[in-house]
């Protein structure tokens, strides 16, 4: 029975993953002037891109690494992007390109021999029980399929709305809605 459930769950995950997987060929014309100006050395333009995309990058990273490491990784992602910006062939694909860097950096974090240090979380102080619950919820999200965990972190952690998530990631709003719905369902199951 357990094996059947596992097989079913795996099949469902594969199916869902195929349906909602994040694409990297997302084009955002709004980014064009900022990306071009950044390539020309305009640091204020790059700062604007940072403001626009930092929550998305943080969510992608936090979906994979401990919270205490996420902020530094976000900085690394943007610095890497700044250095590699000249290699971006399609300037309108900045969002997808940045997301790929973020995923690679987060994957690299796990490959490296990194000492993980637990840091106190930011935000409003809560009880020890709240902290334990928060950690458990995050771990549960991190165990979900990639597309779900990223979308859920953007929504539940970063406070982004579905349309915002769609605008940043290049997913259609419908795909975001499906990701959130199915991801939330899996999360409820995991936390039950």
């Amino acid at each position: 029975m357990g094996s059947a459930t596992a097989t079913l769950t795996l099949a469902r995950r594969v199916h869902l993953h195929q349906y909602v997987t994040v694409t990297n060929d997302f084009h955002s014309p709004d980014d064009l002037p900022l990306v071009r100006a950044s390539r020309d050395g305009d640091r204020s333009a790059f700062a604007a891109l940072y403001t626009r995309y930092s929550r998305m990058v943080h969510a992608i990273v936090l979906a994979r690494v401990p919270p205490a490491e996420a902020e530094d990784l976000v900085q690394e992602v943007f610095l890497a992007a700044l250095r590699q910006l000249h290699s971006l062939r399609d300037e309108s694909a900045f969002g997808g390109w940045l997301a790929t860097i973020a995923r690679n950096r987060a994957a690299g974090f796990h490959r490296g021999a990194v000492t993980m240090v637990e840091m106190p979380e930011r935000g409003a102080p809560g009880t020890q029980q709240d902290e334990q619950e928060a950690r458990r919820a995050l771990l549960a999200i991190q165990s979900l399929p990639e597309a779900y965990r990223e979308t859920l972190v953007m929504r539940l952690v970063e406070g982004m709305t579905g349309p915002e998530i769609a605008a940043r990631t290049g997913l259609t709003p419908d795909s975001v809605r499906v990701n959130l719905h199915r991801g939330m369902k899996l999360l409820r199951e995991a936390l039950a």
């Binding site: 902020e71 935000g123 709240d130 406070g159 959130l180």
Partner: protein
């Protein structure tokens, strides 16, 4: 319950989602500025500072090399236009001017030579010059004719001896003419210190001073001074005519305050009061300059007054850096 609240925050809040938002909000990204961006900016400032240090260092090194010159080295002849000779032998632009050599130009000839590494000198037609000394300082003698020098170097690096006296550069460009006991020096940039047998003058840019053997320079005046002013000044300077001073004063424009200030330094005591009053009317003295002090030829006060005329500081020779180009 639909997913509207989960999707865009609209609709009826789902208590479980609200609870998760509250719990997980502690992990939210602090959307601050990009730290590395600040680092990059700091690095940029460091790079700018390092570049500045390098530029200043390279400039100092280049300037030091510019001034370094051997006492046995010859000057390069850069250009020969017409007939010119060195110690009687015809020369072309490949020639070099060594210490002790006399350079002569023909009636329609010009020769341009490099003054070590600090500037250039052009010898005009029908002239005779001798390179007297080179090395740390460079000295020429103008026996006859004209020369113009343009250089950028510390004061007194270059000087030209004439029978009327010694013209020394103070970071400047100037033209010198001398023939048959008389001549003139005309300054186009910086200052020239002309030291004669009986008097000396500091001549600023834009001014001219006549020269006479056994006397030295006349009082400097601006080239656009009126004929009446120049004639009266000439009479005072070279004919010893004290009665010309009131005519000088009467013909003076505000711009001629520079000349009157020079006259204050060289006029007799009984003439200074008239000059002081005239100068005060044209260019009031700055605070700290008193009538008594000026009549007593207090050098500090005279210097303060001169600086108030906007003639530029004699010591600030380096501001004429364009003369290096």
């Amino acid at each position: 319950m639909n997913d509207d609240y989960l999707f865009d925050g609209s609709g009826e809040p789902d208590p479980e989602i609200v609870r998760l938002e509250l719990l997980l909000g502690r992990y939210r990204s602090p959307v601050t500025r990009l730290r590395g961006y600040a680092v990059t900016r700091r690095r940029r400032w460091l790079a700018i500072a390092a570049t500045l240090v390098l530029v200043v260092g390279a400039s100092l090194l280049a300037f030091s090399l510019r001034l370094r010159w051997g006492s046995d080295a010859s000057w390069d002849i850069l250009h020969v236009d017409g007939m010119a000779t060195l110690d009687g032998r015809p020369i072309d632009a490949r020639a070099q001017l060594a210490v002790g050599k006399e350079l002569r130009t023909g009636a329609n000839s010009h020769v341009t030579a490099r003054i070590a590494r600090v500037g250039t000198v052009e010898i005009g037609p029908d002239s005779r010059v001798v390179l007297v000394d080179t090395g740390k300082r460079h000295r020429m003698r103008l026996v006859r004719g004209t020369l113009s020098a343009r250089l950028w170097a510390p004061p007194f690096t270059f000087a030209v001896r004439t029978p009327a006296g010694l013209a020394s550069d103070i970071g400047c460009a100037f033209a010198l003419r001398y023939d048959e006991g008389a001549g003139e020096v005309r300054v186009t940039s910086g200052w020239v210190d002309f030291d004669g047998d009986t008097r000396s003058s500091m001549i600023p840019a834009g001014a001219v001073a006549e020269l006479r053997d056994a006397i030295g320079p006349g009082t400097p005046f601006y080239d656009d001074a009126t004929p009446a002013f120049r004639a009266a000044l000439h009479a005072f300077d070279f004919a010893g005519d004290r009665t010309a001073l009131p005519r000088v004063v009467a013909a003076a424009r505000p711009r001629d305050a520079m000349t009157l200030l020079h006259l204050l330094e060289r006029a007799r005591a009984e003439d200074r009061a008239m000059l002081f009053d005239a100068l005060t009317a044209l260019a009031p003295p700055p605070a700290g300059v008193t009538r008594a002090g000026v009549l007593d030829r207090d050098l500090h006060m005279l210097d303060m007054w001169r600086r108030s005329l906007g003639l530029g500081g004699v010591k600030r020779w380096w501001i004429h850096w364009r003369d290096a180009l």
